[in-house]
Symmetry: C2
Subunit: 150 residues, 2 copies
C-alpha cells in the first residue's frame, strides 16, 4: 500500500517513456519468439484454436466468439484441424444443432511441441542472466501479467 521513502511515483512524462519502452520490449520479444520458432507448419490461428480446447470441448460458435472471427471462418479452421487429425468433431447429444470440437491425442502433442519450441529461444537467453536480473524479471512478469489481464 505505502511506498518506500526513497522512490517516488513517475510523473506523466516518465510514465509515457517507460510505457513506450516496455511496449516496444514486449513486442520485440514476442516477434523474436514467433520468428525463431517456426512452429512446424502450425499457423498462428490454428495453434490458437487448439490451445482454446485444452481445458475441454467447445462448440464452433463459442470458438468463433473467443477468437473474434466469423462462424464460417471457424467452420473452415475446424475443418482443417479435423483433416490434420488434431481435433475431432462430434454431435452434441443434448442439442442436435450443436457440434462439439475436441482435442485428439495428436492435437495435444502438437500443442506441447509448439510450446517447447517457443520456450527454448527464451530459456536460452534467460539462463545467461545474473541471479539479480532473473529476480527482476520474475517480479516484472507478475506485474505485466496483472496489467495484461485487466
Amino acid at each position: 500500500m505505502t511506498q518506500t521513502a526513497t522512490t517516488r511515483a513517475l510523473g506523466p512524462k516518465g510514465v509515457s517513456a517507460l510505457s513506450e519502452e516496455l511496449r516496444l520490449a514486449c513486442m520485440r520479444i514476442s516477434r523474436r519468439v514467433r520468428f525463431e520458432s517456426v512452429d512446424g507448419d502450425l499457423a498462428p490461428h490454428h495453434f490458437s484454436v487448439l490451445a482454446r480446447l485444452e481445458d475441454g470441448a467447445r462448440t464452433p460458435r463459442r470458438l468463433a466468439d473467443i477468437e473474434k472471427v466469423s462462424a464460417p471462418s471457424m467452420t473452415r479452421t475446424v475443418g482443417y484441424l479435423v483433416d490434420a487429425g488434431l481435433v475431432g468433431r462430434h454431435d452434441d447429444p443434448e442439442d442436435g444443432r450443436r457440434v462439439l470440437v475436441e482435442l485428439t491425442g495428436e492435437g495435444r502433442a502438437a500443442i506441447e511441441q509448439t510450446r517447447r519450441r517457443r520456450g527454448r529461444w527464451m530459456s536460452e537467453r534467460v539462463a545467461e542472466l545474473t541471479a539479480q536480473e532473473q529476480a527482476t524479471l520474475a517480479e516484472a512478469a507478475a506485474i505485466l501479467g496483472r496489467i495484461a489481464a485487466r
Copy 2:
C-alpha cells in the same frame, strides 16, 4: 559482475518456468496493445512499411527484403500507400531501373498518430502502479531490450 550473496541463479526448471511466464506476459501485452488501439484503418503491414521509411527513402526491393515479403507483394503494398497519400514514388535519378519510396507529411502524421494511440493503453496502466513496481518494470524493460536485440 559479481552477484549478491543472498540470491542464486535459477536452475533449468526455474529458468524454463520464468521464461514461459515472461514469454506469455509479453505476448499478452503485445496483443492487448494491438487490439486496444485500432490504428485507424492502418493495417499492420502498412504501418510496418511506413515506419521503415522514417529514416529515409527506400527502394521497393529493399522494403521487400526487410519485411520478408515478395517483390510483387511490396508493389501492391506501396501502391496502396501511394493511393492513400502516405508515401510518394519517385524515379531514382542514378539508376533508371529503380524507384524510391518516400514518406509524405501525411505519412509521417499517420505514424505519429498510431504511436500515440498505442502508447495510451499502456500508459494508463503503468500510471496506476506503485513507485516500486514502476522501478521494477524500468529495470525489466532494459533487460528485455537487451535480450530482444541479441
